[in-house]
């Protein structure tokens, strides 16, 4: 479902991703881990075409998205659910309207909107907050709105770049378990994180990045943050 082929990404000559190859199958669930600056967000941004690689190919569902026209990028993004560390909710719209936005923009009829938004809110267990505004919610609840919004259009792939970065450990675990539940229904899920607690709690596939290179990729892995030793 997700495939990177010899991908390099430089920022002004400085490499952020080096000769990266990766393959994530349909319905798989994987963590992308690594220390700060390892290139996790860079890899994510390549997947939703916020960036294009300096060289190499990026496939989503068999389509090389480095070669699609700018006009097709919105279509690509609607086939991906994207979850952000800072939630990126529309502050002046209710929970319901946030989740419904993309469906309205696509001209979906009102009764389908009601049905699909309600069911998405049900998945994240927030039906009773439909009329609330984002600033009336806790961080965990806001992130659940973000997840409901990401899944409301039924995307085959869900990308989450540090979805728990701003949350406490208990809430983080709940969020990741929620994503795991969504994955179990057939959605391919990729989560970037440097939270070893949640990675080690779930024991799923772990892809480790360091200095822009994939240094390990194990099926039911763990993640130990290395303690930086100051070099003289």
């Amino acid at each position: 479902m997700i495939r990177l082929q010899n991908v390099n990404k430089d920022y002004g000559g400085r490499p952020a991703l080096v000769n990266t190859n990766l393959n994530i199958g349909l319905g798989e669930f994987a963590f992308l881990v690594g220390p700060s600056g390892a290139g996790k967000s860079t890899l994510m941004r390549l997947l939703y075409r916020e960036e294009v690689p300096s060289s190499g190919k990026v496939f989503i569902g068999g389509v090389d998205i480095t070669r699609i026209h700018a006009r097709q990028v919105p279509l690509l993004r609607r086939r991906l659910g994207i979850v952000f560390q800072d939630y990126k909710l529309l502050p002046r719209q209710t929970v319901f309207d946030n989740v419904a936005y993309i469906l309205r923009a696509l001209g979906v009829d009102q009764s389908s909107i009601n049905r699909r938004v309600t069911s998405a809110l049900c998945v994240v267990n927030l039906e009773d907050k439909a009329k609330a505004y984002p600033d009336e919610l806790s961080g965990g609840e806001q992130q659940r709105v973000g997840i409901a919004r990401a899944i409301v259009n039924g995307p085959p792939v869900l990308l989450a770049d540090e979805p728990t970065g701003n949350l406490d450990p208990q809430t983080s675990l709940e969020i990741v378990q929620l994503l795991e539940r969504i994955s179990s229904r057939g959605t391919t899920v990729l989560i970037s994180t440097h939270d070893q607690f949640i990675v080690n709690s779930l024991r799923r596939r772990v892809i480790s990045l360091r200095n822009g290179e994939i240094v390990s990729d194990v099926d039911s892995g763990t993640y130990e943050m290395e303690v930086k030793v100051a070099t003289p």
Binding site: V73, R77, R79, I82, L90, A105, G107, V108
Partner: protein, 289 residues
């Protein structure tokens, strides 16, 4: 059906967006209305004056005095073949002489007057050229026409055309800048929202549509406002202007007035086009996918 829902949605987003802009909507509409009113006023005035000048000019005529021994009818026919000539009037020497005698009572003299042709043109710009052309006809002794008046009329017409173009250009530019800045401010205020929508895969035209409509709404509102102002001014100024014109132009044509309706249509189209165009340009510039 789906397209219709999207259209309705874009309209709704426009209204929601404009509601957020609050009083600044009225500021923009006010500024635009002033620009459009000046434009409309100048347009109205130049067009009316142009009509007056044209009517005035069409009363100018070239007098061609013919040599004896030529048939005035034949010459008149020849001259009326020229495309710029609208009317040739023959004044035979006998008639002219009789007229003269009736007022001066000169007797015992042979008729010294030539046959005369009064030539009217359909365009003032060619008076001099035509006069020169007539002069070259063998039967024509000499021609006479009010050279200074013809030149002044042409100069006035050119001036009016130039003034119209300059005013239109300046006000259109000013309008574009006002609309562009307003929409730019809206985009800046909504920067984060726009980024979110783009990441969600909302089509760019769905994001830009409401902004373009907002610009068009400004143009529409402003042109309607300026229409009301112009209509009011017209009621009061019309008779005054007519009086002023009559005082130095005794032979005022009846239909010299340039109707308000064309001006209204032009204002409406210009307002909406500039409004929508200005904001389309700005959104294209500042909203990237």
């Amino acid at each position: 059906m789906r397209q219709l829902r999207i259209l309705a949605r874009v309209g709704m987003e426009t209204i929601l967006g404009m509601r957020k802009s609050g009083w600044s909507n009225w500021l923009v509409i006010g500024i635009l209305a002033v620009a459009l009113t000046i434009f409309g006023g100048v347009l109205q005035l130049t067009m009316t004056l142009k009509n007056v000048v044209n009517a005035w000019g069409s009363q100018l005529e070239i007098s061609a005095y013919l040599k004896d021994g030529y048939d005035p009818k034949a010459i008149a026919r020849e001259i009326s073949q020229l495309p710029q000539v609208s009317l040739v009037e023959i004044v035979p020497k006998d008639v002219a002489w009789r007229d003269m005698q009736s007022s001066f009572r000169v007797a015992g003299v042979n008729n010294p007057l030539p046959n005369t042709l009064h030539v009217r043109l359909n365009s003032m710009q060619v008076v001099e050229k035509t006069a020169n052309k007539l002069q070259k006809i063998k039967a024509v002794e000499h021609v006479r026409y009010p050279l200074k008046v013809a030149r002044n009329i042409n100069r006035l017409r050119h001036f009016l055309e130039l003034a119209g173009i300059i005013v239109t250009g300046a006000l259109t530019t000013a309008t574009l800048i006002v609309i562009g800045n307003t929409i730019h401010l809206v985009i800046e205020a909504r920067q984060r929202e726009i980024e979110i929508l783009s990441l969600m895969g909302v089509n760019p035209w769905y994001i830009k549509g409401p902004l373009v409509l907002q610009g068009a709404a400004y143009g529409l509102g402003a042109s309607l406002l300026s229409l009301i102002i112009l209509f009011g001014v017209n009621i009061y100024a019309d008779s005054y202007v007519r009086e002023q014109l009559l005082s130095f132009l005794p032979l005022l044509p009846n239909n010299m007035e340039y109707g308000l309706l064309p001006t209204f249509i032009i204002l409406l189209l210009l307002g909406v086009a500039v409004g929508a165009g200005g904001s389309a340009w700005t959104s294209g510039r500042y909203i990237k996918v």
